[in-house]
Symmetry: D2
Subunit: 360 residues, 4 copies
C-alpha cells in the first residue's frame, strides 16, 4: 500500500509531531509539505531555522527524520492537493483551519487536529477504538457539501483519554453523570506563546480558556449514536475543571462517574481491561495493543512513568474505586499522552482507520 499524504502546518509543533509519527510509516508516504507564506519555497530544514540565532527550531525529542530535511515547503494558502490521497493538517490557528480545510476537502480527505469543524453536524469526531461506527457520517458530509473529500477532526487532547475510559463503562453499566478534573501538561499549550516557566514553577494554573466547554461537548458527541444520518449525543450530565500543572507531557485526569446500573470496582476494572475497542483485528499500524492499560499500584498512573505506554497510544488507568458521593459512584485516574494519542499520532491512527474502511 502506498498512500500519498501531505502535512499542512508542517513547521509548527503539531506538524513536526506529524512528521515523526509518519516517519517510516508502512502505509503512508509524505510526498509534500506546506506551511505559512514565511516558510514557502524553503527547504524544510531551513524553514525551521530560527531567524535570530540560526539554531534549528526542531522541537521534538526524536531527531528530524532525514528525508524531510531537504523537502521544499509549499505555501498552504495556495496549496493544490491534486494527486494526493490524504492530507493531515496541524494548523494551530482556528480561523486559518476554518478557511483552509474546506478548500482542501473539496478534492481530498483531510484529517485535522484543529477544533474548527468538530461540532458541525455532518462531521464525525473520531477516536479510533471508540466510535469507528461514526465513520459513515462522512457520506452525509460529502453529499451535503458536494465535496470529493471530507474533513475529519480528532478531539481535543483532554477529551480523548476520558472518552476512551468512559466507553467500556458506558457499554457495561450505562452512564448518568461524569465530573472530571484535569491536570494538563505544558506541551498541550504549545509554544505560541506557550506557558512561561516563570508562571508554572512551584505553581498550578486553575484555568485553560475554552477547554472545559470543549471537553463537555465533544465527549457527548463521541459517545453518541449515529442514526438517520446524524449523531445523537449521549445524554450525560458532565462537568469538567481543567488545570495546568508543571508536567511536560501527559494529561492526568481524575474522573468521578455515576453509572446507570451498579458496578463494583472489580467489575469496572474488568470492563476497562477487557475493552478491545472497535479496532481489534484491523491491523492498524499505529493502534495500541489495547486501548486501556490498567495499573494495580495505587500510586499509578503517573504522567512521567505511564505516558509513553505503547508508544503513547494507550490510556493508562489506576485507582478504579467505588465511592458514595454519587449513586452507583465510580472513580478512577487516567494518564493520556496529549501529543501522541491526543494529537498527531491519534490523527495518523484515524487516517489508518479511514483507509481500512475504504474512505481513502
Amino acid at each position: 500500500m502506498a498512500v500519498r499524504v501531505a502535512v499542512i502546518g508542517a513547521t509548527g509543533v503539531v506538524g513536526q509531531q506529524f512528521l515523526v509519527a509518519l516517519d517510516k510509516h508502512p502505509w503512508f508516504t509524505v510526498t509534500r509539505l506546506a506551511a505559512s507564506a514565511r516558510s514557502a519555497g524553503k527547504r524544510y530544514d531551513e524553514a525551521i531555522r530560527d531567524a535570530g540565532t540560526g539554531a534549528s527550531r526542531w522541537l521534538c525529542d526524536e531527531p528530524l527524520p532525514a528525508p524531510y530535511a531537504t523537502m521544499l515547503v509549499e505555501d498552504a494558502a495556495t496549496f493544490d492537493p491534486a494527486g494526493l490521497d490524504l492530507v493531515f493538517t496541524g494548523v494551530e490557528e482556528g480561523d486559518v483551519a476554518r478557511e483552509l480545510e474546506p478548500r482542501l476537502a473539496k478534492q481530498v480527505p483531510v484529517v485535522s487536529t484543529s477544533s474548527a469543524f468538530r461540532m458541525e453536524s455532518d462531521v464525525p469526531l473520531l477516536i479510533p477504538g471508540v466510535n469507528a461506527d461514526h465513520v459513515p457520517l462522512i457520506d452525509q458530509q460529502r453529499q451535503r457539501r458536494g465535496w470529493r473529500g471530507y474533513v475529519v477532526p480528532i478531539p481535543n487532547c483532554t477529551t480523548t483519554g476520558m472518552a476512551i475510559t468512559l466507553k467500556p463503562i458506558l457499554d457495561a453499566f450505562g452512564l448518568q453523570t461524569v465530573l472530571m478534573v484535569s491536570m494538563q501538561a505544558l506541551s498541550g499549550a504549545g509554544r505560541n506563546p506557550g506557558v512561561l516557566a516563570l508562571d508554572i514553577v512551584d505553581n498550578v494554573i486553575p484555568y485553560i480558556p475554552k477547554e472545559e466547554e470543549k471537553v463537555q461537548r465533544e465527549t457527548a458527541k463521541i459517545l453518541g449514536t449515529l442514526a438517520d444520518g446524524a449523531i445523537d449525543p449521549l445524554p450525560l450530565a458532565i462537568g469538567a475543571t481543567c488545570t495546568r500543572v508543571n508536567v511536560r507531557d501527559g494529561h492526568t485526569e481524575v474522573v468521578f462517574a455515576s453509572t446507570r446500573r451498579p458496578a463494583s470496582a472489580d467489575a469496572a476494572q474488568a470492563a476497562m481491561e477487557g475493552f478491545a475497542g472497535d479496532l481489534e483485528g484491523l491491523g492498524l499500524p499505529s493502534a495500541p495493543c489495547r486501548p486501556i492499560v490498567l495499573r494495580d499500584d495505587p500510586f499509578r498512573p503517573q504522567p512521567r512513568l505511564d505516558r509513553n505506554t505503547d508508544q503513547g497510544m494507550a490510556t493508562v488507568v489506576g485507582r478504579v474505586e467505588t465511592h458514595h458521593a454519587l449513586g452507583n459512584g465510580l472513580k478512577w485516574v487516567l494518564v493520556s499522552h496529549n501529543t501522541r494519542m491526543g494529537a498527531a499520532r491519534g490523527a495518523v491512527l484515524t487516517g489508518e482507520l479511514l483507509v481500512k474502511r475504504g474512505y481513502v
Copy 2:
C-alpha cells in the same frame, strides 16, 4: 495577657513552624521546648544541627527567632507540664501522639496537629471561624476522662480549606453532595521521608495514603452540629481524590458541590465573600481579616501567588461557577496554605480561640 506555652516536637518541621508562628506573639510566651530523647538536654540550636554535616537543620524560610536558639530542649517522653497554661504538640508520628497527648492533657490543655484523636466522639475538631460552637464539647471530654486539661486537634491540612469554603454555602443553600480533587503541596508530606525530587519532577502522584478518608470523615464532623453533648455529623455525600503536585506550599482544591436550594454563581460568591465566620469581633491575633478572599480573575487562585494571602491564614477562592452535572451544581477552586492555616498557625489560632472562650 501572658499565657505560658510549650511546644512539643519542637525540632521537627511542624514544631519549627510553631516557633515561627509564636515568635513575638502578643498573648503566648514559649517558656519550654521538648522533643525526642535524641535532642533532650541540648540547646535548641544544637539539637537541630545535622549530625553528619554540622549544618543547621532549621527548615523554615523565616530565620530562627533568636530567643529559641539558647533554650534547652527537654525529653518529651518524661515532660511534666506543670506550670504551663497551654501545650502545642506537633508530633509527627501518630502512635507517639496517642500516648503523649493524654498524659499531658491530664494536667493542661493540648492543641495538636496530630490525627490521633480527631475522630474521638468527645473531641471537637476545630477550625476557628467555622465551628467555634463545637468548643463546649471540651466539657464532655474533661468530665468523661477526668482530665484537668483536654486535647483539641486541628484537622488535616486538606480538610481545612475545603471546610472553610463549604461553610457559607451550607449556611446559605444547604449541601447534598461534594466531590473534590486536591493538588497538594510537597510540604504536606514533610521530610521524613518526604517526596524525593526524582519522583515529582515532571510528574503528578495520584495517591496520598489515608488522605481521602480523613478529608471525607473530618469534613462531615466539622460541619456537623453539637447537640446533647455530641456532634451529629453533617449528612453529606462526599468523595475526594487527593494527588501530589510539584508545588512547595499551598494546596489547590477543585470542588464540585450540589446544594439543597438553587444558588447562582453570584449568590454563591456573595455568600463566600460575605462570610465573616464566628471569629468576628474576637480580636484574635492570628485571625485573617476575612476567612475567604475571592478572586475575579479566572486564572486565580494559584498556589504561588495566593498562598500567602493574609499571612497564609485566608482561603483564596476563584472560578465560582454553576454547572449542570449535578442538580443545583456549583464549582470553585481554592488555595489554602497547608503549613500556615492548615497546620501550626491554624493551631495557634485555635489556642487563641480557646483563651478567648475561657478554656485556657
Copy 3:
C-alpha cells in the same frame, strides 16, 4: 526631600519592579508614567490589562501599589520631562533606549537599566558601594554632550553580584584572573518571549546570547579607575560561561579567582565580611546593611533561601576556599537577586546616590 520622578517603560516587567521599589519611597515621588503608544492615554490598571483575557498583567509578587492604578500613562515617544528631577527608564528594547534616553537626558538625569550606553567612554557604569568614585564622570558627559541631564546605566544583572564580591578582594589582594560560571534565574530572561517551561523543566540551557561579553567588559570597567576624566579599565584576565537554570529569581555564580598577593580563605572571607563599600554613613534608603553577607554553611548560598537577604539588596557569599588550580587561587559561590539589586531596586539605589552627591 521631594524628588519628582517618572518611570518610563512602566508597563513592562522592569517598569513594574520600579513601581514596587519606589512605592512609599521616602525621597522619591512618582509623578508621571510612560510606556509605548499602545498604552498611552490609558489608566495604568487598564494599560496592563491583557487584551485577550481581560486579566491584569501585573507581574510582581507584591500587589500593585494603589496610587499607580489610576495614573494616566503617557506616550514615551513624545514624553516631555520638563518639571521632573529624575527619570528612571526600564525600556527593554536596546534600540528604543538608544533613541529615547539621550532625548530625555538633554533636560533631566536618567538612570537606566538598559545596556545601550553602558560602554560609552563618558558614561559611568555604577554599582553603589563599589564605584561611587566614578560619579564625577558625569561632568564630562554633560560638558561633552551639552546636556543639562545625563544618562547613568546600571550593569547587567549578572555583572552586579560578581563585581561586588571582587571589589574587596581586589582592594586587599589584587586580582589577576577571574573565571566565572553563572546559573541564572528565569526572571532574568523577562517575558518577551522569556523562557518556556517546556524548555527548562528537567534541564539546563548552557548559553545566554551576549551575556558573557557583557559580564567580561562591564566588570573591568566597574573595577577600573577614574583618572583624567576617563575610566581606565582594570587589567584583568576574565572569562565567563553563563547558563540558565530552573530557578525563578536569584543568580547563582561560581567564581574562581587568582589574586596578586596570597590570600588565605579566612583572610578572603574577612575582606568580604568587613567590606563596608562606599555607601557607609550616607543613609541611602535602599542600601543594604552591608553589601556582602557571608554564610558559613557549605550548602549555602542557595537562591531560594538567600536571594531576599536584606530586601534582595545584599550579595550572599559562601564556600570561600583556596584552590591550587590557579596561583594564589580562591573560589567562592554567590547569590545575587537579579531583579532587585540587579535591576530596578539597584537603579533606585543609584538614583539615591546621585541625589546625595548633588547630581539630582
Copy 4:
C-alpha cells in the same frame, strides 16, 4: 560467548540499573543476584516490594526485565562466587564495599561502582576509551594481594564525562590547568536519602560533600601513565566546584582549560570530534559509536535533550571556544549521563573490555 555474571546490591538503585544494562546482553548472562540480609531468600520481585504500601520499588523507567522477577536473592554477606566468571557490585555504602569486594576478588573479577578502592595504588581506575592501557595494572594487584580475581572500580560519575573530553585535548595540545563547575542531576544523589523536592524546587545547592576532591584526584589518575607497574598521575592544576540542580538525569559540566600548546577552537573541536578512543575495532556491545558527540548549536548540550545520546554512553559537547582568562585558554560545556556511562552501563562496558583483553 556465555560469561556468567552476578549482580551484588541488586535491589538498590544502581543494582537495578545493572539489571537493565545486562538485559539481553549478548555476552553476559546474569545467573545470580545478591543483596542485604533483608532481601535474602526472597524472589527478586518480592524483595523490591515496599513493606509499607506493598507497591513495587522498581525504580528504573524501563520495566523490570521478566527473567529477573523470579530469581532468588542471596545474602551478599555470605555470597560465594564460585562458578561465576565476573561479578558486578553496585553496593552503595562504602564500608560494605570495602569489606565485601576483597572477599569476592579472592576468587573472581569484580567490577564496582563504589569509591572504596579507586585510589589504591595497584587498582586501575578505568574509563573504556580513555585508559584501557591501565588494564595491566591488574597483574600487579593479583600478584601483590594473592587473589585469583581482582577489583576494578569505575570513576565517580562527575569525573567520567570530564576525563573523556580532556583526553583528546591532552593528547593533541597538552594540559596545564583545568577548572570545572558541575551542575549535577538528582539521580546522582540516589534515594537514600536522595534530594527532597522541597530542597531543590526553584533552587540550586552549591555543595556536594566529598565530590570535588574525588573529581580532582580521579581525573589525574585516569589521565596518568602506567609505567613500571604503577600509575604516574598527570601533573595537572585542577579545581572543581560541584553543584546540584533540578534535573533528573545527566550531569552538565562547564570546563575551562589551559593547554600547553596553543589550540584554536576549531582545532580543539576537531580533536574531540576525531577522538576514536582506545575501543575502536574492539566490537564491545555497550560502546558508543564515538566517545564524544559534538553539537554546533550554542544552546547545546542540554541534559534533557542530549543525555540519552547513543544510549547514554556518549559524552555530548558544545560551546568549544577559546578565552583569554588563561594562557592558551579553551572552554566547553559537556553533558554526560550519570547513571548510564557514569554508572552501571559504564561498568558493564568495563566488564566487556576486560573480557576482550582476556582478564575474564
